[in-house]
């Protein structure tokens, strides 16, 4: 019996163990890749959401509308704008007391 034939069983078992090890490693890498893809998708969604949120604060349209609401005017219009400090609002008019007397009579 040749040495190869004598060790065939051991080689066979070793090859099977190697195969099993490869399978386990493959599974591990698969799971890692799938997890990374899920993370990537979440990152894409988060980035898009963040971009939209940022645009709602500092996007051109948001800034333009904010400036308008804040009373800002384009520079060429500045000479036509009269800066006026906010005036004092008059005090609230107190509600005068009723000038009449209400009498209720209960008939028994």
């Amino acid at each position: 019996m040749s040495p190869l034939a004598r060790n065939a069983a051991a080689l066979y078992v070793a090859a099977l163990l190697l195969l099993a090890g490869l399978g386990a490693t493959s599974q591990l890498r698969y799971r890692t890749q799938a997890g990374l893809l899920v993370d990537k998708e979440q990152a894409i969604v988060a980035l898009a959401t963040a971009r939209s949120a940022a645009a709602s604060v500092n996007g051109p349209l948001a800034v333009t509308n904010w400036a308008r609401r804040a009373g800002m005017v384009p520079a060429p219009d500045a000479p036509n704008v009269e800066a006026a400090a906010a005036g004092l609002t008059p005090p609230a008019v107190p509600t005068p007391p009723n000038p009449w007397l209400e009498v209720q009579t209960v008939w028994r």
Binding site: L16, L19, Q27, Y30, A34, E41, A48, G59, N65, P74
Partner: protein, 462 residues
Amino acid sequence: MAVKHDAPPELRLHRGALIAIVAVMPLVFALWGFASQQRGAPAWPADLVDAVPRGRIVTADGQVLADGPVDARRYPQGELAGSLVGFSGAIQPDGRYGLEGLEHTLDTRLQTGDHVTLTLNATLQAAAESRLAEAVASYEARAATAVVLEVGSGRILAAASWPTYDPNDWRTADVASMRNRALVQQYEPGSVMKPFLVAGLLESGRLAPDETVETPMTLRVGHKTFRDVAQHDPVLTVPDVLRYSSNSGTINLASRFESAEMHAWLAAFGFGQELAMRSAFTARGSLTDPARWVPQDHATIAIGQGIATTNLQLAAAYAVLAQDGLYVAPRLVEDEWTPDPYRVLSPETAMAVRSMLQHTVESSSLRSSAVPGVPTAGKTGTADVYDAAAGGYVAGRYAVSFAGMFPAERPEVVMVVTVHEPTTVTSSTLVAAPLFREIASEVVAHWAVAPDAPAWALGAVR
């Protein structure tokens, strides 16, 4: 010498089982390991696994208008240029993913993953949309549009339409708000057309700039009576015909043209012609066959009724006056092919008409259309709106416009604004002219040059 010991018969079965376990079980486990790879692993995100790459749509100043693969397409700027950008969705029978707007027209290019850079300036687009929204609300109008063109290059700096919508929420948006009105809404422009008639007459030698024209307050042509709105003298100079927007004066001037000649001149300015631009949906407007015109058609078209155009066409035509007589095809994408410019007017004629339009702004209540310190040339238009359902013009429904350019001596920008069917105020002088000034003011502010700087400086910084 090896001695062979046969196992007792009762143990032979055990030896077979042992061999089976040692030889077969690892194989079974290995195969099971490969076969069960997906068991317990997180699901692959379908929109990434099957992702079809798609290019970005970006403004000239770097704002991202559309981004992401087909199944995860996002529009970070929301409403900004929404009706222009459009949206994409599931693949269509023609192989496109784009369903509307630039997403549709630029689909082939976007599918290759190529990014598209528009000529739009996001700041000016935002300023225009913001002002249009205010105007629509203030005047309780149906819609409003504005186009800002860069003189010399034909680059569209802003193409704003209101109402608009957020492409991120296109499924819930009103279909009417999806119309890119600045490029596709055709309307009868009214008096903003008058300068082109004057330009054609000057160029063809049928009119001298210093001539006077009879301008009665009413003029009957065929079975139709045309009336002037603003009170004026019975005889006016040509610049004053434009200043008072005299219908009778314009019709008298138009009588110097045969219908075919007038048609040819209007076509040369691009009216009724297909735009060369292929990057977006556009409309060609309407300019009917002059062979079918009766005298009142000739007169009506001379004052801008009976002819339909879009804001983009009108801006491109006004740009001829700004570009010393050259017609430059407008474009929306930076590397888009456009045909070579062609000459419509001599520089002298273009400058003469520009000067008249500057006179129009500076000598009347239209001063409200000019940015302080920036000479402006322009013209108003108040046009009746044709209602196909009613079969005619409906009283009280107007499209009010202002078309102009600045700085007048050496224009850098041409702009056309239109408010469709305002209800609270219907005068173009009170509605369109101030709207023009507001957007123009934003443009000048964006240049970051003092308004009283020389004209060359106004255009030098952009």
